[in-house]
């Protein structure tokens, strides 16, 4: 990721008639920021804590560049003196040719080349270059720390923010989207800070410095060189624009290709089951061919930028040679000056291209920063009340009073819900999908805020309780199991901070997980892989149940948890659960009527409202929705006979 870009940009500061930067133009379409100035300011704010180091870097960069720039001019002095010495020597030899022929060369005073002077110049040069190197090194060395620390701070702020955002935020976005901001966008900023910022400084200083140096040698030649500048811009503008279109197309095809690959590989079983391998390959080849057609064009167009730059640079070179030669013959400049000019015009190309590049890079970096700031500006969860209460010994009496709630204001979900749950009771929530059952959980745990009414535990409104304490009172076993990349032990121990080995194993036994854990090669130290795919769905459920058992909460919430566990194991768990549920209020959401039968209260929900309430027998007697649901489980067989 970052390393790639590092490598691309750093090398190539020296130019010969052939030099040039790597094709950073081949980056593709650049995202534009909406509020450039504002975001830039905010981004620079993050650099504030490091401002001293940053200023040092600035200073070092400038000086380093200056010393490099004066180099060619000074070496020009040496060469000029060299040439003067040569000319004098040959002239003298020519004048005294007769003497030389006569073998009396020793009698003639032939001037020699002024080597002492040249030596001094060279020593001066060496000194300058050494200092420049030192500064250059220090600059990047310090910048490393500055850039990375700044990025570390941004990451930390984002993580902090994420922990304060309501669930609403996360449910509305894909994980990929959020992740992309925290990783890709932050990385972009990191790379830019590390490389591009100092490059910008050195490039600008170089350009200005070189122009000044060139002016001191010959204004006419400087003019000539500057006239080649528009050519560079022309090339860039023409070519870069054309390539954007192809890059955009390329991105599209890559997206299509990746999507197809992902689908086919994850659904491989189905592809095989229905014998569609051949079709899948055909489809792939089609997309691949389309990708090839735009890909090579994009590559070609971005690839000719460098040769074109080189050509323009060569034109400049030729012009310098010709015009310089002419001026030298006129005696207006020395040969040493020509040499210096050649070196300068070579050094000129590089920073110009870099600066053009950097414009693009800064655009995309500020766009990245904008996306991150968008996130940092999101609305947070309501903070805990000032004098939030803590219930010392919670009993587990839950009351809903006239509660209204909806995810979207136009689609009311829960209407005027009133329930009164006593300590130790089991409440079963039943109903078709989308009836509002999971929503109840969201409200109890205060993952979402209710619209109207109030929910209270032991008489205290849950909004007056510290969120952390509120959630400590609940134990949750969810429909989709969440286990992280760690050992089985750590995963179960997640339920209670500072759990001992004995406690963990006890919970595992109670959840009937202990046995299968022992059959695994590493037992409790088995590391669950990323998707926790090295254990079965049912085993995952058992682990989450063990985790909840360990937490030993006042109120238990079971959300369709045991439907992936076979009914036999479910029996054992239920027995363990029943023991746990003694004196513990429990909310059970399930499809299985067998689970709900023993509940003290059954809430039958449909389309957001509670349509029936009561225990199993009462509801059966009512002969309503619940009775209907219940009977269909067992009259299915009877229905068969009727149909046939």
């Amino acid at each position: 990721m970052s390393e790639n870009k590092n490598v691309n940009k750093s090398k190539g500061d020296m130019g010969g008639p052939g030099g040039g930067p790597m094709g950073s133009f081949a980056r593709g379409p650049v995202a534009k920021a909406k509020d450039f100035k504002g975001t830039l300011k905010r981004l620079l704010n993050y650099l504030k804590p490091q401002r001293i180091s940053f200023i040092l870097v600035f200073v070092f960069a400038i000086f380093s560049t200056i010393f490099t720039i004066v180099g060619p001019k000074i070496s020009g002095w040496a060469i000029t003196r060299l040439v003067e010495g040569l000319v004098a020597k040959f002239t003298a030899m020519g004048q005294n040719a007769d003497f030389v022929k006569a073998g009396k060369a020793a009698n003639v005073a032939i001037p020699s080349i002024d080597f002492p002077y040249i030596r001094n110049v060279i020593l001066l040069l060496l000194g300058l270059y050494l200092i420049s190197t030192l500064f250059g090194f220090l600059q990047q060395y310090i910048m490393a720390g500055v850039a990375q620390k700044t990025v570390y701070n941004i990451r930390r702020d984002v993580e902090d923010k994420l922990s304060r955002l309501p669930l609403k935020f996360f449910d509305a976005r894909t994980h990929g989207e959020i992740l992309s901001r925290v990783t890709n966008d932050v990385d972009n900023i990191a790379t830019t800070l590390q490389q591009s910022l100092t490059q910008l400084i050195t490039s600008i200083v170089t350009i200005i410095g070189i122009i000044i140096m060139m002016l001191t040698i010959s204004p006419l030649m400087t003019l000539v060189v500057i006239l080649t500048l528009p050519l560079y811009i022309l090339v860039t503008a023409l070519v870069a624009k054309r390539s954007q279109k192809y890059f955009a197309d390329q991105q599209k095809e890559i997206g299509a290709l990746n999507g197809h690959v992902e689908e086919m590989y994850t659904g491989h079983k189905i592809v095989k089951a229905f014998g569609h391998e051949h079709d899948s390959i055909e489809e792939f080849k089609n997309i691949n061919d389309r990708l090839y057609n735009v890909g090579w064009k994009a590559q070609f167009i971005s690839g000719i930028i460098m040769p074109m730059m080189r050509f323009v640079s060569n034109i400049g070179y030729v012009i310098v040679c010709v015009v310089g030669g002419y001026l030298a013959i006129q005696g207006k400049i020395t040969i040493g000056d020509i040499q210096a000019f050649i070196q300068y015009s070579n050094q000129f190309t590089q920073p110009i291209v870099q600066t053009a590049n950097i414009a693009n890079i800064i655009q995309s970096t500020v766009a990245s920063a904008e996306r991150i700031f968008e996130l940092l500006d999101e609305v947070e969860e309501l903070p805990d009340a000032q004098n939030a209460k803590v219930i010392e010994f919670p009993k587990g009496e839950v009351k809903f009073e006239a509660v209204n709630f909806s995810y979207k204001t136009e689609e009311p979900l829960i209407n005027n819900m009133n329930i009164d749950v006593k300590q130790g009771h089991t409440i079963a929530i039943v109903g078709p999908t989308g009836a509002g059952k999971t929503t109840l959980v969201n409200l109890l745990m205060r993952f979402y805020e209710i619209g109207e009414g109030s929910i209270s535990i032991d008489g205290v409104d849950i909004r007056d309780i510290k969120r952390g304490e509120l959630r400590n009172m609940f134990g949750m076993v969810l429909q989709d199991t969440w286990l992280f990349n760690g050992t089985i032990f750590d995963n179960i121990a997640y339920g209670k901070k500072g759990a001992t080995e004995e406690e963990v194993m006890q919970s595992a036994r109670a959840a009937h997980a202990h046995h299968f854990i022992k059959t695994l090669p590493d037992g409790y130290n088995t590391i669950l892989n990323e998707e926790a795919s090295n254990i079965s769905q049912g085993q995952k459920q058992l682990l989450t149940i063990a985790r909840a058992i360990l937490a030993n909460p006042t109120i238990m919430i079971l959300d369709e948890a045991t439907s992936s566990v076979d009914s036999r194991t479910e029996v054992y768990i239920q027995r363990a659960m029943t023991e746990l549920m003694q004196n513990r209020t429990s909310f059970v959401i399930a499809h299985r009527l067998s689970t709900i039968r023993d509940a003290e209260l059954i809430l039958v929900m449909n389309k957001g409202s509670i349509i029936e309430m009561g225990n199993h027998n009462e509801l059966l007697a009512k002969n309503g929705f619940y009775a209907d649901l219940y009977n269909s489980q067992f009259t299915g067989a009877a229905l068969d006979n009727e149909v046939i």
Binding site: M1, S2, K11, D13, G16, P17, S64, K89, I113, Y129, L134, F137, M143, A144, G145, A147, Q148, S163, F170, H175, I178, L179, G259, E262, Y265, K272, A273, G275, H276, S280, F284, K285, W296, K297, G303, P307, M308, R310, N314, V322, G325, I335, N346, P432, T433, R467, R471, M476, T519, E531, S536, Q537, Q539, D566, Q574, H591, T635, G636, D640, V643
Partner: protein, 591 residues
């Protein structure tokens, strides 16, 4: 990496042309300083001497400014020639490199599609995806670099040395010292930086992992009040990454300035020693200036080369991963002579079948024997991990048995062509998979040339018609990737319709009714009963109600058959079955 280059065979001609063109380019570039030297030596210093120019059959004699102008014109021509060469070579190299990528992708995808589930388990789906996408892109990028730099740079370097020798041989000895020095410094720096680069990737992955888990498990984290724990985890990974990045960048900070110093010192050395040689009359001033430029080109050439060496290890890693896939042969192949099982229809038989996942200690299923005939419903029930899905996966030959044999229509499945075998089966998996496309497309997946009536009929039986008609586009409703815009129950019904439209001899339903509520489940099974009356049906289920009226119920317990028979028989004979049933029905209902 070079193993992969065998795929470039068809581009051999282009590659030769590219090399030639780049060579010409380099020559052109290298000739320019020589001409410049001429301008200085002959045009300026000896401006009063008449010089001759001969170029491409054109000769003339000029002196002073005229000479300079003519030489300048030649230089322009050569530059233009070089530019044209480079444009053409870029054209060919783009097509070659991108074409290379295309070839590898095709080969990879074709290979993977031919894999059995076993290979997928071995390598892992996620990494297969990465290998087919990211890794190929890496290889392609490096190939582009190879064509642009790796051919250009060394040729420039060597060519530069050659030209330098031509100008003045003894002076070239400077390079004999400088170049190795350069090499050592680059080598040492990279040696210490490379391991850190690799670590960077690891640390970035770790950070991503922590983040991703924080997102997927946000409810659990908040419910268990572990926000601080997660923050600590994140901070640890973030600090780790920062430290590593700082280290890497500090080492790289060293590289550039030293490079520049070496280059500049070379220039200085050339001036000094060149000056001495000029004094001795062995060299001319113009040549000295040309020498300085050759020096720059040589060093620059070697520098660019070192850059490529940084990219190659990374590409190498990708190449290894790709080759691993390409070299893997699917263990499940069709035999040379396949037998067409067309004598019977819908007979499934298991003979002493055992199966263990590779590397596992215990067998997943042990010594299973049973047979199923058309018109019969065979249900399989049992605890989690008892081997139910494993068992039915053997029928379409997703895996091969370890011992024993599975016969379909009297023929061992290993002796049939896989295509032929799977055409007989309609498979509905436990985890529903739908593909992006319309609802009609998805149902048609079971039978390519299904008519609208057949599709609608299948949807009807699967109890899907209601919700399909409830959608604005009906059958043309587009399903997003991963089937995220339909509910779990709807997905399952579509999955069932897909199998139904096929009208196969054998149906396999692997716990396919779990997301349906009781009412729909019951109606569905009723409709299925008449639809599948003539076929052989195998159902894996958890609910006793689903299983109750099967012709044969197989009870699995830890991979072995704990009981086989009808519902009534098993209630009395099989303890395991009794337990399962009693957990779902009350005492009275049992009787």
């Amino acid at each position: 990496m070079f193993k992969l280059f065998r795929f470039l065979k068809e581009y051999t001609l282009q590659i030769v042309v590219i090399v030639l063109l780049i060579f010409t380019q380099v020559l052109a570039n290298l000739y320019l300083p020589t001409l410049m030297a001429d301008i200085i030596n002959k045009g300026i210093v000896q401006k009063d001497v008449i010089q001759t120019i001969s170029f491409l059959g054109f000769t003339g004699s000029y002196q002073g400014v005229d000479y300079i102008l003519r030489t300048g014109a030649i230089m322009l021509l050569i530059s233009a020639g070089g530019a044209i060469c480079s444009i053409i070579s870029t054209f060919f190299s783009s097509r070659t490199a991108v074409g290379f990528g295309r070839i590898i992708r095709n080969k990879l995808f074709t290979k993977v599609e031919g894999f059995s589930l076993h290979e997928f388990d071995k390598i892992g789906t996620a990494t297969l995806i990465t290998r087919t996408t990211n890794d190929v892109t890496q290889i392609q990028a490096v190939t582009v670099m190879i064509f642009s730099i790796m051919l250009f740079a060394p040729l420039t370097g060597l060519g530069g040395i050659f030209m330098a020798l031509r100008e003045d041989a003894p002076l070239t000895w400077i390079f004999a010292i400088i170049i190795p020095l350069l090499g050592i410094i680059i080598g040492l720096t990279l040696k210490s930086a490379m391991p850190l680069f690799k670590l960077m990737q690891v640390k970035i992955d770790k950070l991503n992992l922590v983040l991703r888990e924080g997102l997927t498990g946000i409810r659990v984290i908040r419910a268990f009040n572990r926000i601080d724990t997660e923050k600590v985890r994140f901070d640890a990974a973030s600090t780790d990454l920062m430290d590593n990045a700082i280290k890497v960048n500090k080492i790289m900070a060293f590289l550039m300035p030293i490079m520049m110093l070496i280059m500049n010192v070379t220039t200085v050395a050339i001036i000094w020693f060149g000056g001495i040689r000029i004094d001795e009359g062995k060299m001319q001033i113009g040549s000295l200036i040309a020498f300085i430029q050759y020096g720059m080109q040589i060093l620059f050439g070697f520098l660019m080369l070192s850059m490529v060496f940084i990219m190659i290890p990374r590409a190498q890693a990708s190449a290894i991963r790709i080759n691993e896939v390409l070299d893997m042969d699917s263990e499940m192949l069709d035999p040379q002579n396949t037998i067409l099982a067309d004598k019977e229809s819908g007979y499934v038989e298991f003979k002493n079948v055992s199966f263990s996942y590779p590397g596992a200690d215990h067998a997943a299923i042990n010594n299973i024997t049973f047979s199923a005939k058309p018109g019969e419903i065979t249900a399989i029930i049992g605890g989690t991990g008892s081997g139910k899905s494993t068992l039915v996966n053997l029928i379409p030959r997703f895996y091969d048995t370890t011992t024993g044999s599975v016969l379909v229509d009297g023929v061992d499945v290993k002796e049939m062509s896989q295509e032929n075998l799977r055409a007989k089966i309609g498979f509905v998996p436990q985890k529903t998979v739908l593909f992006s496309g319309t609802i009609a497309d998805n149902i048609k997946y079971g039978k390519d040339n299904a008519t609208i009536e057949e599709i609608q009929h299948a949807a009807n039986v699967a109890q899907a018609t209601d919700f399909i008609n409830g959608m604005t586009e009906g059958y043309e409703h587009v399903i997003a990737q991963g089937g995220t815009n339909v509910s779990g129950g709807q997905k399952q019904r579509l999955s069932i319709a897909r199998a139904l439209v096929r009208k196969p001899e054998i149906y396999i339903f692997d716990d396919s009714f779990s997301a349906l509520d009781f009412k729909t489940d019951a109606k569905l099974r009723a409709a299925l009963k008449s639809e599948t009356a003539k076929a052989t049906v195998l159902i894996i289920a958890q609910r006793v109600a689903t299983v109750m009226d099967a012709d044969r119920i197989i009870v699995l317990d830890e991979g072995c058959i704990a009981g086989m028979g009808t519902h009534k028989e098993l209630l009395t004979n099989c303890k395991v079955y009794h337990e399962i049933v009693s957990s779902q029905l009350s005492e009275e209902e049992l009787a």
